[in-house]
Symmetry: C2
Amino acid sequence: MVKVDLSGAMGFLDSTGPDYGAAGQAHRALAEGKGAGADFTGWRELPRRVQGEELKQITAAAERIRDTSEVLVVVGIGGSYLGARAGIELIQPKNGPEVIFAGTGLSPDALVSKLEQLGDRDFSINVVSKSGTTLEPAAAFRIFRGLLEKKYGAGARRRIYATTDKARGVLKTIADKEGYESFVVPDDVGGRFSVLSAVGLLPLAAAGCDVHTMVGAAAEAMYELDLRSPDNPAWQYAATRNALYAKGKKIEILASYEPSFRYMAEWWKQLYGESEGKNGVGIYPASVEYNADLHSMGQYIQDGPRTLMETVVSFDRPRKDYEMPFVMGDPDGLNYLAGRGLGEISRVAMEAVKAAHVAGGVPNMGVSVPRRDEEGFAELVCFFEMACAISGYMLGVNPFDQPGVEAYKKNMFRMLGKPGT
Amino acid sequence: MVKVDLSGAMGFLDSTGPDYGAAGQAHRALAEGKGAGADFTGWRELPRRVQGEELKQITAAAERIRDTSEVLVVVGIGGSYLGARAGIELIQPKNGPEVIFAGTGLSPDALVSKLEQLGDRDFSINVVSKSGTTLEPAAAFRIFRGLLEKKYGAGARRRIYATTDKARGVLKTIADKEGYESFVVPDDVGGRFSVLSAVGLLPLAAAGCDVHTMVGAAAEAMYELDLRSPDNPAWQYAATRNALYAKGKKIEILASYEPSFRYMAEWWKQLYGESEGKNGVGIYPASVEYNADLHSMGQYIQDGPRTLMETVVSFDRPRKDYEMPFVMGDPDGLNYLAGRGLGEISRVAMEAVKAAHVAGGVPNMGVSVPRRDEEGFAELVCFFEMACAISGYMLGVNPFDQPGVEAYKKNMFRMLGKPGT
C-alpha cells in the first residue's frame, strides 16, 4: 500500500498538525454523496465494477490487438489518454505493440512525425472520446481512420475500438453504424478519474500490462483508502497540503527520481490542477524529474520564493539494481562507491535532497509504494484520486467539474467557422 | 529574427507600459561588464568565438562519430545536456546516430533501460563536465566507459570525446592521460548559457544539425539583440515579465503548440529558474504543451489563482502542412474544415486560447521565430539568454551564479561517505 511520510512537513505546520477533522468531514461528504459534484464519484467503484464481464471484454480485445498489430494508435486528449500513457511509461511492459498517442494537438509537424513513426506497420486504433466532438481527437481520428481504411478496406472496421458514451454522441453513432467494438466511458466518472475504466485499461492491456493484477490491487486500495481514519494516507496527504497552502505554499512540485514517472506526473497535474484550480483558488501543480532537475530547478527550489511545497513519489525497491564498478587506479575518485548498488546510492541522494530542501524552507511530503509495477501503479492512482477528492472538498471547490475548459473551445469553434457557432 | 508580441500583456500593465529605462540600464551594466557576475558573460561572444578553428574541430569530430557510431551517448547533467537535447528534439535532424542522454540521474532502472536501448550497437561517448566531479555524470561515465573498453579494448579511447575545463579538473586529467579528444567548456560561461559552445555544438553536429548555419544565425542574433533600444525583443520580454511579476504574476508558463519544443522548455526552465530564483525572489518557471495541456492544466490557467503569466513560443510556418481530408457523408461533422491545413487550424486555436486566457486574467506574451530549424533554434537561444541576463539585473539578482545547487551535493557526498567530507 501507499505510505505517506510527513516528517519533512510537520515542522512547517501549526503544532496541531494537519486538520484531520476537516479531512474526515470531506471524506464523509464524499462517501454519502452529499458533496458538490456527487454525480461524478463513480470512480470509487470502478475497480469493483470493471471486474468480471467488462474486464474479460477488455482483455479479449487487447489480445486481438496484440495478435494483429505492431502499433496501437490511441486517439484521445486529457483524461482520455494521460492515465494510459502514465501507466504504460511507468510499468514499461515488454513485447506489446508500440503505442502511439495521437489526437493531443493540431500541429501538422507533430502529426507528420507520428505518421512516420507508424510507417507501414500493421496497426489498430483505439479512439477514446465521450462525445466525439472534441476537435483535437476528432481530427486525428478522421485522419488515422482514413489511413486504416486505405490500408485494410472493409477490414478496417475490425481494427477500430471505440471507447465512448454508452448511448449517445457522434462517436457512439459512428461506432454503431460501422460496427466498431465499443467500450463505455461511464457517465458518473470524469475523464481525469477514468483510467481504471476501459478508457485506460484497454490501451494498458494491449500494451502488455497485467490489468487483472492492476484492477485487483486497485479494488483493495480503494477499500483501504475508504477507511475513515487519520491513518488513511489520503487524509494525511490531503490535510497536509491544504494546511501548507493556507500557510502560503502556493506551488506543489511533484518529484520523482524515476524518469519513467514523467507521465504519472502529467496525469497528476491534470488530476489536481483541473480538480482544484477554480474560483480563483488552488495549488499550482508542477513537476520535476530528479536528479536531472536538481541541476535546473534545484537553485530556485533551494533559494527562490518560499512559496513551494514538494511531494516526492518513490518506489521502495528498484526492479533491478546495478552495482557501481571498481576501477583500478581510481582515476575519477569514485571507488568509495564501488560495489554499492545504484539503488542505495539513489536513495541516499533522495534523503540528502530532502534534508537540503527542508532546511531551505521547502516542506517535503513523501509518497511511496513498494514497486514500479501494476500494483504500484494501481495504488498510486487510487491514492491520488481519493486524496484529490478529499482535498478539493477541504478547499471548498467542486473537484469534479471543469467549466474553464470550455472557454478556448468556444472561441476556437467560432473562429474556425463551425456551423452553428 | 525573434518577434515579441505584447498585445496580450499590455492591458495588465500600468499605462506607462514596460520599464524600458530599467531594461536599458540593465543592458548597459551587462555590456560594460559592470553588473554582478560579469566574469560569466562570455556567452555573448560564443557564436563569434567558436567560428573558425573550433567549429572545424567540432564538425570533424562529429563526422567521425557519425561514421563510426550508431549511437552517441552524451553524458552530462543540467547545462551540460539540456541545450543539446533541446536542439536535437526541436530540429529533429535525420540520418544521424541515435543520441542517448545519460548521467542525469542515479536510478538503476533508468540506467538499465538506457543500456537496453543501446544494445550491442556501435557507439561513442561525449562526456560533458567542467570538473568531472559531479556525481551523476561521473558515475554514468565510469559505467559507459567500462562498456566501451570491454567492447573496443584499446580503441575505446578514440571513441571518447571529453568536453571539459581547458586546463584542470578530474575529467581533464583523465582525458589527457588517456588521449581523448578534448573540447573546452569556457571559463567565462555558466552551464546554462553554454549550448553554443562545444558543450552543445558537438552533440548537435553529431546528431546531424547544421551547426555552421546555427552559429551564423546566432552571431547575427547576438548582434541584433545587443542593440540598446525598446525595439529590442529581449528588452520587451524582460521588462514586461518583470512588470507583471511586480503586479503579482508569480508563475510564468512557457507554452508551445509543438511537442518537439518540450526540451526547449526544459532548457528555458533551467535558464530562468537558476538565473533568477535566489534571495527569495524569482518568477517560478513552468511549462505546458498545447493543445494537450488545455485539457489538463487549462482549467487551472483559466480559473485558478490569478498569479499566472503565459509566454507562448511559436513558429511562423510548419515544416510541412497537412490538409484535413474530406469524408463523404460527414459522419463526424468536420467537413467544414476539409481542405484547410492543420497549420492554419492550429494557428486559429492558438489565437482562441490567447483570447480566452487574456479574458480570464492571464497576461499573454508571444515569442515567435520563422521556422523550427537551426536558425530558429539559434535565434531563440540568443533571445532567451540575452533577455534572461537583462531580466535578472532588473530583478536585482546575479543571474550568473547558482549557490543553491551545492546544498544537496554537500549532504549527499557526506552521507555517501565520500573521502574528505
